[in-house]
């Protein structure tokens, strides 16, 4: 995995894991690899990976079962929420960018429609 060294590494790994959950590469209820093996695979520090797992659990994206490891949430609502949050993030940066270029509401929608039809 290539990282942008300006952005916290743990943050980028969280985003990657969220994407894998949305795309179903990581299934509901699936066990995540251990912190150590995940750190080794992504070639990052174990403490960074620890932070990733703590944060995922704090956000309710994963849960820990004592002694057995971390698992992806089984809550469909949660998975939908991750997807919605990520979509909101993309839309926000897109709309802000378009507004900077001087497009109003109609202009933005028109452009999006045109783009989708052509693609």
């Amino acid at each position: 995995m290539d990282f942008d060294a300006r952005i916290p590494i743990y943050f980028q790994i969280i985003e990657k894991i969220k994407k894998e959950i949305i795309l179903g590469k990581l299934q509901r209820g699936e066990k995540l690899p251990s912190v150590r093996s995940m750190a080794s695979e992504l070639k990052v520090n174990v403490n960074t990976m620890q932070r990733v797992y703590q944060e995922l659990e704090r956000e309710g994206i994963t849960f820990t079962q004592r002694g057995t490891g971390s698992f992806v949430t089984e809550d469909n609502g949660m998975i939908q929420k991750i997807k919605d949050d990520m979509a909101q993030g993309l839309i926000k940066s897109f709309v802000e960018g378009m507004k900077e270029l001087g497009f109003d509401r109609e202009g933005i929608i028109e452009n999006v429609n045109e783009y989708i039809e052509e693609a």
């Binding site: 060294a5 300006r6 952005i7 990052v44 174990v46």
Partner: protein, 232 residues
């Protein structure tokens, strides 16, 4: 938990001061980057932690013990220069380390040397810079030490060797031990460092958690390095 404490340490050589009233603490279970340009005091500090030279004043403690015979057993130090005799074969280097250090793990050394793509029947004198770097690191990391002190492990090393070296350092750092790496190649170390310590003219100018610096400053450690030394 606190592993190493440097308190008001000064080191004077005849014509100059290498360290001046330096203070720092190092915690267990983390990877530290000791960063700074040549002459900032990195090597002097590392040699002191390894017990090879003495401070002119101030004190250094490892697990609350002053640097000495006991602390030396907890520290595995890799110098920048080659400390292995040229005539030795790699297998003899393993034997040499095994005789010299009680905490040396022969099996681990053989595994690491194999992982590093080295053959035990090669002579030290016949190794390229990259191979020698890989050998030195394999030996140093095969000791079951509390603290690994690595002076410029990436300097003069080709990209392929670098990757293997980084991976080995990452695997070596467990919860109960600590790694200090000196370097001016910050870019290479970005993803593996927990903490960064910037030295300038024998003192700490800035230190902290790498991820927190990224959050606060929106900068990579490489950019932060340039910022810290822009007037140097």
């Amino acid at each position: 938990m606190e592993l190493l404490k440097v308190e008001n340490v000064t080191k004077k050589y005849i014509t100059k001061k290498a360290l001046e009233n330096m203070n720092m603490t190092i915690e267990e279970g983390k990877i530290y980057g000791l960063l700074g340009p040549n002459g900032s005091g990195k090597t002097t500090l590392m040699k002191m932690i390894a017990g090879l030279i003495q401070p002119s004043s101030g004190k250094i403690e490892i697990m609350e013990k002053k640097i000495g015979k006991e602390s030396k057993q907890m520290v595995s130090y890799m110098p920048t220069s080659n400390h292995l005799p040229k005539w030795m074969k790699i297998e003899q280097c393993i034997g040499y380390y095994d005789d010299y250090f009680e905490d040396f793990d022969r099996e681990k050394a053989k595994e690491l040397i194999d992982f590093m793509g080295l053959k035990e029947n090669l002579k030290v004198g016949a190794l390229s810079t990259g191979m020698l770097g890989r050998l030195k690191l394999s030996l140093v990391l095969s000791r079951n030490a509390k603290l690994y002190v690595l002076d410029e492990p990436l300097n003069g090393i080709d990209p392929i060797s670098r990757e293997k070296i980084m991976q080995t350092i990452l695997n070596a750092c467990q919860e109960e031990n600590t790694v200090i790496i000196s370097s001016h190649l910050v870019k290479e170390l970005e993803t593996i460092l927990d903490e960064v310590i910037f030295l300038e003219k024998g003192n700490v100018v800035l230190s902290g958690n790498a991820e927190n610096f990224r959050i606060e400053k929106g900068m990579s450690m490489d950019e932060l390095y340039r910022e810290v030394y822009k007037d140097a």
